[in-house]
Symmetry: C2
Subunit: 258 residues, 2 copies
Amino acid sequence: MKTQEDVEEFILHGHREYVPHVSLDCAIFGYHEQQLKLLLITYPALDGWCLPGGYIKRTEKLIEAANRNVKERTGVDNLFLEQFKTFGDPDRAKLSNFDEDAWFKMTGVRLTDDNWLIDQTFSIGFYAITDFSKTNLQTDYLIMKCAWFDIDNLPKLEFDHEEMVREALHTMRVQLYHYPIGYNLLPEKFTLSEIHALYETLLGKKLDISNFPKKLIALGLLKKLDEKRSIGAHRSPYLYTFDKERYDEALKEGVVLS
Amino acid sequence: MKTQEDVEEFILHGHREYVPHVSLDCAIFGYHEQQLKLLLITYPALDGWCLPGGYIKRTEKLIEAANRNVKERTGVDNLFLEQFKTFGDPDRAKLSNFDEDAWFKMTGVRLTDDNWLIDQTFSIGFYAITDFSKTNLQTDYLIMKCAWFDIDNLPKLEFDHEEMVREALHTMRVQLYHYPIGYNLLPEKFTLSEIHALYETLLGKKLDISNFPKKLIALGLLKKLDEKRSIGAHRSPYLYTFDKERYDEALKEGVVLS
């Protein structure tokens, strides 16, 4: 939404274009060179930070709505998006610190009790992992700030978004054992140490060096190249690359990687 | 719902008690002695079978609504219920073979285009696994039949319920590698062969005999008893039981079991 008029129209009549009672929130993780970050935004009238999210158009598929939300904030299209959980307890969106005047100043509309945005809303959680160094963050009229935070140093989150982040991390970590990862997060050719570091960073713990790479090679997902990288005296490890066909198949079918 | 009056009230005014646009569906898997089944129901006016499900009361938590639905059909309370995915594409509930007259005969109400049940609905999928020999299946005024079907021999399903079953099975199978299973599905004391057979049946494939039991023992989830069962000449394997405290902890925290 670009202007106050867009926002007013959305608040007053958004339920014509969007399905009421259902929204989505995206935990977009960012990886780059052994750092794991999370994308957060702020709205007017709220102190804390939130996961980016929004409502679902009556004409679009759920995955299209999630993709639209991610693209609007990061500029990245068609990220691999996975649902992790839907949240819907009666009091999930209760706010203690909503600043009504700040909201009115920004939007020009006071939220009355019969407004469609006030009623109980279920939120479908999606997660994605992207290379944060390749994103192009965007705010808009209602989204004041948009920024990457280190996963171990998150600010105060609004609503039930702390629980969402915990659940997203948990699901992402379980799924690392069943879906390949790394395409678009690593250079096209990489060493076993680099992919090992990716797994350690995403799982947030030290691993036996051989586990994941060994399984990836055994399943034909990693191909050894006839090429080495020189990284110091007497150290020139072989380079590897993904077999993209098998990778895509494993993303669809699932595998056992531990 | 027990009477036609209950059903009429639900159709005409249900959105006062229940949140519109959001429902849930439960894939209840049944295990007993190496058989895997799925619970299905029928509604009036539809040919095919459906997963049991329903709407969520405005006063109840999501997990409470899922538990209520499972209990109403099976008589079993507090099953371990896990979300597997939420479904919400615009045309997901389109029906080609809805018998309006049969519906009217059963309910006394014709469904008009502005009825709250007609508008786009998202459905949150839950799955559970129970011992089908210990359930007590219940129909009601709107649920004509309720029965267990072999997982490899399911009848025609309505709506997007075939996709739901596929996704529920997939998630259940992935989660077998991360959460313990077997409590309430096996006798209190069991042999390693029995728990091995449970895993093979749920995963729908042959496994290396030692994998899961070995990991369960290594993690302290299985305890070897000082007791054997005689199952034939020269064959008396040791009995095992779950360490319930560690089992519950692993259900909460997740583990790596492969």
